[in-house]
Amino acid sequence: METLEPLLAEHPFSRTLQARHLQVLVGCASNVRFEAGAFLFREGQAADRFYLIREGKVAIEIAAPTATLTMLTVEGGEVLGWSWLFPPYRWKFDARAIEPTRAIALDAQCLRAKCEADHDLGYDLLKQFALMVEQRLHATRLQLLNAYDVNA
């Protein structure tokens, strides 16, 4: 029976993970797809998964009283979701596929338990997520700069 290991291994998220930790991830992984317009998760719901996007595009949205705003799009090769790592494990925003999207879903409860049991695995994963958070924070600061304003 084919496993998800080859798909996981080729995703950029996995490239710097130790091989034995990749094996652990396979045990918590499932293959998923979403049609355009489908929500991957909604604000306030339990953050019980995160996603390695393989193909397609997902918008991270926030619903304001007058409009829904897209803050970021996540595409093939990128990671969606880190609320599963931090209590209270609830999504802060909506995530909606804006193109047909294929992804690998990682079960959060499964992974959290394995990370607690194996701190090396937890550290390896946290390093990946810390790098992603640092990059997203940097990008968000640039967005907040309003750098394209001609007076900026």
């Binding site: 595009k57 918008a59 949205e61 409009a67 829904t68 705003l69 897209t70 803050m71 970021l72 799009t73 595409e75 090769g77 804006i98 193109e99 990059q135 990008a139 640039l142 967005q143 700069l145 309003n146 750098a147 394209y148 304003d149 001609v150 007076n151 900026a152």
Partner: protein
């Protein structure tokens, strides 16, 4: 006896005297941005320009500002500028109507090293109105597409409604001759393109540092961070070019208004190789 330096450019009439031009076409790109096509009053040949050069545009009774030339260098019969209304002069330019007269002098400065990029890959990265000075490069590249390897345009803007030249972008993207990636900082839910900073698109290009030249135009903050991101992809500053904007007055290196460290932006630029500029860009007071 002191001698007067030669003007840096033999311009539309001369380096310092504007020549009258008439607006023959107006296209409103966005709510505050207009692309205007001018022809010389009385006709006659116009001086050739290089992609990346600029003219000084004089609105009679209002004032004069530098504006990048945004048309096709293969069309010497007209001059094209794209104006966003920011101050009194640029707002007056953005409001010009067909038949209105302005004074033009130029072209001035050093342009993009398009010939140097030929034979290899070319990456253009534009932020906001910074796409305007790069458009002549695209025209030149497309007219001689076989001379270049992979050609990419990364374009970032604040919101989808301020994107410039949308029809052309769509045409370049759809015919496959140029990779066009657009990213905006904010969007309403109907936008199906990318949202995020344009520099985050750079790793997706899989740049070959040995055969790539990059050209960047946009706000200085955006250009600084973009240079760093290109360096993370292995590109040396000697292969990266920036187009600078400063308060230009004379445009020929006399007055010093546009001086940045040892450089006169009007005469030595506006296009600079990044290694010659990054140190000065990091100094707050300059």
């Amino acid at each position: 006896m002191t001698s007067t330096p030669e003007p840096a450019a033999a311009g539309v009439a001369s380096a310092t005297a504007p020549r009258p031009f008439r607006v023959i076409r107006v296209r409103h790109d966005t709510g505050d941005t207009t692309t205007l096509t001018f022809e010389a009053v009385g006709g006659g040949r116009l001086p050739p320009f290089a992609a990346g050069q600029f003219n000084m545009v004089y609105v009679f009774g209002v004032g004069e500002v530098p504006m990048s030339i945004t048309g096709d260098s293969a069309r010497p019969d007209v001059v094209v500028h794209t104006a966003r209304g920011v101050g009194p002069v640029s707002s007056a330019i953005a409001r010009l109507k067909r038949g209105d007269l302005v004074g033009l002098r130029g072209p001035f400065g050093r342009g993009w090293p398009v010939d140097e990029a030929a034979g290899g890959d070319l990456v253009m990265i534009a932020g906001g109105l910074g796409l305007a000075p790069l458009r002549p490069v695209l025209y030149q590249v497309l007219a001689n597409r076989a001379a270049f390897g992979r050609v990419s345009l990364l374009y970032g803007a604040k919101t989808p409604d301020v994107l410039l030249y949308r029809k052309e972008l769509e045409r370049w993207r759809s015919d496959g001759t140029v990779r066009v990636d657009i990213s905006v900082d904010q969007a309403a839910a109907g936008w199906t393109g990318r949202v995020g900073v344009a520099a985050s698109l750079i790793p997706r290009l899989a740049i070959d540092p040995a055969r790539t030249v990059a050209m960047i135009c946009g706000p200085e903050v955006m250009m600084r961070f973009t240079v760093r991101e290109l360096e993370r992809s292995g590109l040396a500053q000697t292969a990266i070019y920036l187009s600078m904007e400063r308060n230009m007055k004379c445009a020929v290196g006399f007055c010093g208004h546009c001086q940045l460290g040892p450089h006169f932006i009007c005469r030595d630029g506006p296009v600079f190789r990044a290694d010659r500029l990054m140190t000065a860009l990091a100094v707050r007071e300059l």
